[in-house]
């Protein structure tokens, strides 16, 4: 019996789908059986981020409505045999499925996979309720912006209402240069405010855009910094203690000290 993790944020555009694709691919990379579920009915995107958009025949709604079996709708990844995608319907609306149906579907998927990663739509309405129903735990994605953190806080509260306690936090698109100048909230600031456990910090990285263009998750790119951040996230999910990357060094001296091997880890 696997674990179902919903990736959510409240605010749109913070990188939920990118996080879902990278975490799912990263888990498959270390040999886990993973099913990515796009719960963003009507605005599907996980398929393009994964580069699998041209393989879709059936979707989640077809499964729920009984037009096909869940096996028929699942698309096998091009890179990993243990990675599958269950795409959302693009031509339907959020209310085409209800939380009970989603819960049942996720439970069914958990039988066959180690991880079921659910990409939640933005917002707090029906789509959120659908995506969280059936999940065992939640990862909240935010960016270091007032609006995104505020929405993340709201989501943490709503997750509790769905009996999803103690979610993980992923801070996305952190810009170390801006943090250093004091023009961007740092990890500590956000943890201070949200008071939830940190799963990872992903730096703002052009390679994410390039990898999305290509449909190749950055986690597969050995040279990508954000890819490294996602590989760390994956290992932490697997219970490995991985130190956080040095992204927010405060001064040249500290950076130099780290370079020569003294000084703490941020």
């Amino acid at each position: 019996m696997g674990k179902a993790i919903v990736i959510t944020s409240g605010k749109g555009g913070v990188g939920k789908t990118t996080a879902a694709a990278n975490i799912g691919t990263g888990l498959a990379q270390i040999g886990k059986k993973v099913c990515l579920v796009d719960a963003d009915i009507g605005l599907r995107n996980l398929d393009v981020v994964m580069g699998l958009e041209n393989r879709i025949v059936y979707d989640l709604i077809d499964v729920v409505e009984g037009y096909c079996r869940v096996r028929q709708a699942m698309i096998k990844d091009k890179r990993f045999d243990t990675l599958y995608l269950l795409p959302a319907a693009q031509t339907r609306e959020k209310d085409a499925v209800n939380p009970d149906q989603m819960g049942k579907l996720i439970t069914e998927l958990k039988q066959d996979f180690d991880y079921v990663i659910i990409d939640c739509p933005a917002g707090i309405e029906q789509g959120f309720k659908n995506a969280t129903s059936g999940a065992d735990m939640a990862i909240v994605v935010t960016t270091p912006e007032v609006s995104a953190v505020r929405d993340a806080d709201r989501i943490v509260g709503l997750l509790e209402a769905q009996e999803l306690y103690d979610p993980y936090l992923v801070i996305n698109r952190l810009r170390p240069d801006m943090v250093r100048k004091g023009d961007m909230m740092n990890t500590e600031d956000m943890i201070d405010i949200l008071a939830i456990r940190l799963l990872g910090v992903v730096p703002d990285d052009e390679s994410i855009i390039v990898s999305t263009n290509r449909g190749e998750p950055a986690v597969l790119d050995k040279r990508s910094q954000s890819g490294q951040a996602f590989r760390n996230i994956v290992r932490r999910l697997e219970g490995v203690e991985v130190p956080f990357m040095h992204l927010e060094n405060n001064s040249m001296v500290q950076r130099f000290m780290r370079l020569i091997g003294i000084g703490g880890k941020s």
Binding site: V146, R150, M184
Partner: protein
């Protein structure tokens, strides 16, 4: 220029950092969010307080202040209500 130099040297007045402003603003807005009181609701609360208190005393509505304040995980309603005079018992 001076500010730039100060930053370069790692000293200077950090309270002016935009990230601190962001954090402060967030803190305030979250207090309201978490207490489930919107600014509109706070205004309504103010009106109700005035209405109730007016039964007993004459208050200065202009300088009335009602705010939600938080200190470490707890939220307090802080009201500053100047009293002009206390009404006699009916």
């Amino acid at each position: 220029m001076l500010e730039w130099l100060a930053r370069l040297l790692g000293s200077g007045d950090h309270s002016k950092d935009s990230k601190d402003m962001a954090k402060e603003r967030l803190r305030l807005v979250l207090v309201q969010d978490r207490a489930l009181l919107s600014p509109g609701l706070l205004e309504k609360l103010k009106e109700d307080i005035v209405e109730v208190l007016s039964k007993y005393m004459e208050i200065d509505e202009q300088s009335l202040e009602v705010n939600l304040d938080s200190s470490d995980e707890s939220v307090a309603l802080v009201a500053n209500i100047p009293v002009k005079s206390v009404k006699r018992r009916i």
